[in-house]
């Protein structure tokens, strides 16, 4: 099972990296959130996949699952959710103010800003 998981994680990282390397904001943000999913799965897998029952008293299971990776995961998901939301809002605002969502044009745009600044 762990092998399959590592392949899935690898695929997610590949797609995420490809998207982050592209130019438009939206693709970059999607890339980060896909890598985020890959990281979450990695954390789950590194903690050991399901080995036993829920770690609760009174269930009398012979082997128990490790609850800690899941707790960490939950925290990581919430943080990832918040930062992605913030980044989306920020890039929308940047698109409205700067008039482009292309990181290459953004660089030209800034170059113009700097040039006009130098002329003054």
């Amino acid at each position: 099972m762990e092998t399959y998981m590592s392949i899935v994680i690898g695929v997610l990282f590949t797609i995420g990296t490809y998207l982050i390397l592209s130019k438009t904001f939206l693709r970059i943000i999607l890339g980060t959130s896909i890598i985020g999913h890959g990281v979450n799965l990695l954390m789950l897998t590194m903690g050991g996949l399901k080995k036993g029952g829920a770690p609760l008293l009174g269930f009398n299971e012979s082997s128990l699952n490790d609850p800690l990776p899941q707790a960490l995961l939950l925290t990581a998901i919430v943080i990832n959710f918040a930062t992605t939301a913030l980044l989306l809002v920020l890039s929308y605002r940047a698109y409205k103010v700067l008039g482009t969502d292309d990181s290459e044009q953004l660089r030209d745009h800034v170059q113009q800003l700097k040039d006009s600044d130098d002329e003054q």
Binding site: I28, M43, G47, G48, L68, L90
Partner: protein, 500 residues
């Protein structure tokens, strides 16, 4: 044995920030509450310092869960010192913000956000658990994302998107490293990690994870991976940039020092040599940047990079002298960089430009500002008797002791370049003639000068009174050189019973 005092530096800013969000429209109250909060944090840090001096490392088991199982807060001498200096720097930056940040930003939660930033910074200093360190990093970063884009000017928006993206990717790397650590060692408590690494031996895999962590922390600390720093730190207003320059990079430095002195200290020839090389490269590149530019903001931001390299050069030597120097210089650098950013902001405020070639003769208009800038430049480049000197001496001694002569030499050489870069600012901004005749000594400029005066006084005081804090720095160094002090305090008897 739990000491509830440790939670105060984290919870005071959070609670006061939340209160401020409720009373959004009363910016006057915001000012009072934020200043009160920083004073309270400072006081609790002083109390902590005294307790640690008297009875060793202080521990708080959150929720009563003992060491390796729950989240532990640990205040050792290094953490408490940094929390104290953070409180001082924040106090001055907020004071400076009163008359510089503008009503618009004040109404849009500037003070609550700054306090949330401080909560994250203090949390990172005080936590004893590596996942909790990740969470505190995120608290700090989310606040910094908003602070850097607050105001929404074009340059800010562009820089903030880069800044957020880079930090998100480095957060993912941090999570990956944490996942590997947990998979290999089955624990995330720093003290417990240290015990288990010592037991299992720091093999190749473990060192690889150590390097992954080093990459993450280097991105935060701007150690070698500083390509994002000059752009993002020159975008926000001076008060915010001062907090960033003084505090955010120092959190990364603290994380490197903590992890590589407590957990991964078995392969000094590999990990610490790499830290030394990265430190040397960032010193050289930072110094070149600060010499090359003719813009105040760029010069100051590149000086941040040089400072980071210098602190970690001392740490990389892993000798008593080097570590002592690192801690002295870390404290000095937090004060001095905040001071430089505030001074630079004031100069830009007066002249209306950041370009050195377009300003001159400021000393006639603002003699106090000029002399304070002079003192700050000397302090940054480590001229005695100011605060940078003693750290510089110890770091150089430490690198020579450990045989890293090249590292010490680069450190000394780059401090000359730093001296040149700040003197360049001083000479072109303050010397010469000026067309402006009337002295614009209005109220707002005086409000800017007072916090700068306080920081200048501190940098002089730290240099002349280094003896006073020597005892504290010694204790912090002892804790770094002997990880058992930290481990014994955290794990106490909880693990001794069933064999660590």
């Amino acid at each position: 044995m739990s000491n509830n005092l440790i939670i105060l530096p984290i919870i005071i800013p959070i609670i006061s920030g939340l209160v401020m969000i409720i009373i959004r429209n009363h910016t006057r109250l915001h000012r009072i509450i934020s200043i009160l909060a920083t004073v309270l944090i400072g006081l609790s840090a002083v109390l902590l310092l005294e307790q640690i001096r008297e009875s060793g490392v202080q521990i708080l088991y959150l929720g009563g869960w003992e060491a390796p199982f729950g989240i532990t807060l640990v205040a050792d001498m290094l953490s408490a010192l940094l929390v104290f200096v953070t409180a001082i720097v924040t106090f001055c930056c907020l004071w400076y913000a009163f008359s510089s940040i503008g009503a618009e930003r004040e109404r849009h939660y500037f003070y609550p956000l700054s306090l949330f930033l401080i909560a994250g910074v203090n949390g990172s200093f005080l936590t004893g658990d590596i996942f909790n360190m990740f969470v505190c990093f995120e608290v700090m970063l989310v606040a910094s994302y908003v602070l850097i884009s607050l105001g929404g000017t074009k340059i800010q928006l562009r820089e903030s998107i880069k800044y957020v993206l880079i930090n998100m990717v480095s957060s993912f790397l941090f999570l990956i490293a944490i996942a590997y650590l947990y998979g290999m060692l089955g624990t995330l408590n720093l003290a417990h990690l240290s015990v288990r690494v010592a037991e299992a031996g720091q093999g190749g895999l473990m060192t690889a994870v150590a390097f992954l962590l080093l990459i993450v922390f280097s991105l935060k600390a701007a150690l070698f991976l500083f390509f994002w720093l000059p752009g993002s730190y020159s975008a926000p207003p001076a008060a915010i940039a001062a907090m960033f320059g003084a505090l955010l990079t120092k959190v990364g430095i603290y994380a490197i020092i903590r992890v590589f002195s407590l957990v991964f200290y078995h392969q000094l020839g590999t990990t610490h040599l790499v830290i030394g090389i990265l430190a040397a490269v960032s010193m050289v590149l930072g110094a070149m940047g600060s010499v090359a530019y003719w813009n105040i903001k760029s010069i100051i931001t590149y000086n941040v990079v040089v400072g980071v390299g210098f602190i970690l050069a001392g740490f990389a030597s892993f000798s008593e002298a080097g570590m002592t120097g690192s801690i002295y210089y870390l404290i000095h650098d937090m004060i001095a960089k905040a001071l430089l950013f505030l001074l630079g902001g004031t100069i830009i405020n007066i002249t209306g430009t950041g370009k050195l070639k377009e300003m001159s003769g400021l000393i006639r208009l603002q003699p106090h500002l000029g002399w304070m800038f002079f003192i700050a430049s000397l302090s940054v480049s480590g001229i005695p008797p100011l605060s940078g000197f003693i750290g510089k001496v110890f770091i150089t001694e430490g690198t020579f002791q450990s045989g890293y002569f090249w590292l010490g030499a680069i450190g000394l050489l780059t401090s000359l370049m730093v001296l040149y870069s700040v003197m360049k600012v001083f000479m072109s901004a303050f010397w010469g003639y000026t067309d402006v005749k009337e002295v614009t000594e209005n109220k707002s400029i005086r409000g800017l000068l007072m916090p700068i005066g306080v920081l200048t006084a501190i940098t002089i005081g730290l240099g002349l009174g280094a003896e006073v804090i020597h005892e504290y720095v010694d204790l912090a160094v002892a804790g770094l050189l002997d990880p058992n002090i930290y481990i014994d305090a955290v794990l106490q008897d909880s693990l001794i019973g069933w064999g660590r």
